[in-house]
Symmetry: C2
Amino acid sequence: MREGPDIARIASLVGDPARANMLNALMGGTALTASELALEAGVSLPTASSHLSKLMEGGLLTVASQGRHRYYGLAGPQVAGMIEAITGVAEAVGPKRVRPGPRDGAMRVARVCYDHLAGEQAVAMLDRLVDRKLLLRDDNEIRLAPSATEHFAAIGINVAAKARRPVCRACLDWSVRRSHLAGTLGAAILDKIIAEKWARREKDSRAVVFSPPGKLAFERVFLG
Amino acid sequence: MREGPDIARIASLVGDPARANMLNALMGGTALTASELALEAGVSLPTASSHLSKLMEGGLLTVASQGRHRYYGLAGPQVAGMIEAITGVAEAVGPKRVRPGPRDGAMRVARVCYDHLAGEQAVAMLDRLVDRKLLLRDDNEIRLAPSATEHFAAIGINVAAKARRPVCRACLDWSVRRSHLAGTLGAAILDKIIAEKWARREKDSRAVVFSPPGKLAFERVFLG
DNA sequence: AGAATGCTTCGATGGAGGCCGAACTATGCG
DNA sequence: CGCATAGTTCGGCCTCCATCGAAGCATTCT
């Protein structure tokens, strides 16, 4: 019986259906209130509250109090990454879905991952940015090229380095099994996509659907 | 309440301490019998057997019957990756270990991950192989360079592509947060390291400790 | 064939934890 | 100040499941 980091503790937190639903909902990136999460998980408010305090104690969540609301969010990208990994296995192992279904297809193309874009589009984008030498990639380390700050500023994206959080990070994509761009830059790009109305978030889902003109605009700016 | 792949089901499988210990033991890469796993998990044989059938049903394990033994092993690299991801979170979140401890240090330097080498040594090796253009890396895809087959053959490693399993794969390292080399080539290299007695596997641990001359030999061949 | 080993199945037990309603605290609003 | 909304805490219920001993198969050894 060997000792290691307490993996069972973490896994059992995710292992309850109600909590798993909550975490899944939070993978959308936006912080949610306890009531919203209760609804999402299909349990009563007291039950949800109990789950939330367990997730907090386990270090999987952070909370921000705003007035009488308490907004819960994932504790960080590493937690998001873990959930993606578990999702990948569940997906691979689950014999359930013989037919992927349209919504599933949309998820594969583009979806929100924590706070940035994931899916085929996102993977293609990172590839292209590296090709164009705007980003310098060395395995999981991604750095801005000297010219990049200026370039992104020109499209209206400010890449000022915020404290504590890296500007760029590689994040593994469960549907494509390749990396896409996370970090503040990844988040800023997603913000722009939504702000410019190139795409909208599917209600109650992580899927992101581009409008036809939006798709063209996105490709021109980021895949061009 | 949204529907997705059944992540809670998978996570709860890992969420039991006995099962987590078993999976952890199997991360060593060698398949183990039910009795060994019972010992590892600290439970009786009937209990272990019950856990094993659950893990089987969940698709996390494979089994191979040999005579009156049944050898259990991880179902695949994806499962191993998931466990590494959970381990990473548990490690980051667990405030327990104020002092890393020597054995932990050894794990960080070099350890077995499923069937290949992980840790600082392994990450350095992949970097070097890419630098020397023996491997061509494009994100998570790693391919053999044309010259590589011949090169590896010269050091006694046969890289014939087996069915179904890729020769090269990138595998994320939880201690270094960079990738190391998995796939049949990664496995073959670990085999060689053990066969040449450059290093030995620590008893009851995933740690791999190089002997001083073994370390030099390894560095000459793979980091040279 | 008989004994020994490896493993699984069965049945019973007990404990952990998910669940909700009701009561309690806290913040905001008129 | 009282009412409404958001959230947590408490107590009790109930289900699930991990656990083990004993018995049952299967395989190998002698």
